[in-house]
């Protein structure tokens, strides 16, 4: 089970080719800024993503996300390796 920074359907793409969702689906919208690395998806399917941009659309703000390779668990292993004494 994942605790994501922003809920998204990782299947969703628009004409930019990026995954998109709404900013108001973030746990802390202040963290969702261009360039930030975040975890997106839902409790069962999540991925590390980079925030590309934000754009006003409909009744909210759309966030475009670049899917990064690998699993969330891979990134945890990477960080643990880098911090190992």
């Amino acid at each position: 089970m994942y605790r994501v920074d922003i809920t998204a359907d990782l299947n969703d793409e628009d004409e930019t080719g990026y995954v998109w969702t709404f900013l108001d689906e973030a746990r802390d919208p202040a963290q969702i800024v261009p360039g930030a690395l975040i975890v997106a998806g839902d409790a069962e399917a999540a991925a590390v993503c980079q925030v590309i941009d934000l754009a006003p659309t409909g009744d909210g703000m759309i966030v475009h996300l670049r899917l990064l390779p690998g699993l969330v668990d891979d990134y945890r292993a990477l960080v643990e390796r880098s911090l190992a004494s």
């Binding site: 359907d9 990782l10 299947n11 689906e25 399917a45 754009a55 659309t57 409909g58 690998g70 699993l71």
Partner: protein
């Protein structure tokens, strides 16, 4: 500041709909509630002919082998749905050429319980993704 919904009619790709035997992929494990959430998210952002567009995303297996598509785009999903385009359209669901190829939107009309249950049935049973975790960052060899 809120903006307008993005009208999709003029953005639809000018291409033939996928053939009946073409497989389409959707990652994850859906429920009617999940499908409703995703369809309503699309309707917040998109319109078609000035009407909010209810729909969910799928990718057609066009031009690349299935395993390549799964490895490139679906490696974070443990399970996938893999119905044929013909099966979805045969159940009354329109496939719209939204986004960049090979992305499509399965259009819903109401996204009510009945339609969502029909869609979930039309997607078929979720199956293990053979390319799960195949696109990865560095791992120890023994992992």
């Amino acid at each position: 500041m809120p903006g307008e919904r993005i009208e999709q009619r003029l953005r639809l790709r000018a291409e033939q709909p996928p053939g009946a035997t073409t497989l389409v992929v959707r990652g994850g494990h859906d429920t009617p509630d999940k499908l409703r959430t995703h369809a309503e998210r699309a309707a917040r952002a998109w319109s078609l002919d000035a009407v909010p567009l209810l729909g969910i995303s799928v990718f057609a297996v066009l031009g690349v082998p299935l395993d390549d598509l799964l490895r490139r785009r679906f490696a974070t999903f443990r399970t996938i749905y893999l119905p044929s385009a013909g099966h979805l359209t045969g159940q009354g669901f329109e496939l719209l050429t939204t986004g960049q190829a090979p992305h499509f939107t399965v259009r819903l009309r109401r996204a009510d319980d009945h339609e969502l249950s029909r869609l979930l049935a039309a997607l078929g049973a979720p199956q293990p993704n053979p390319q799960y975790a195949r696109s990865m960052i560095w791992r120890r060899e023994e992992d």
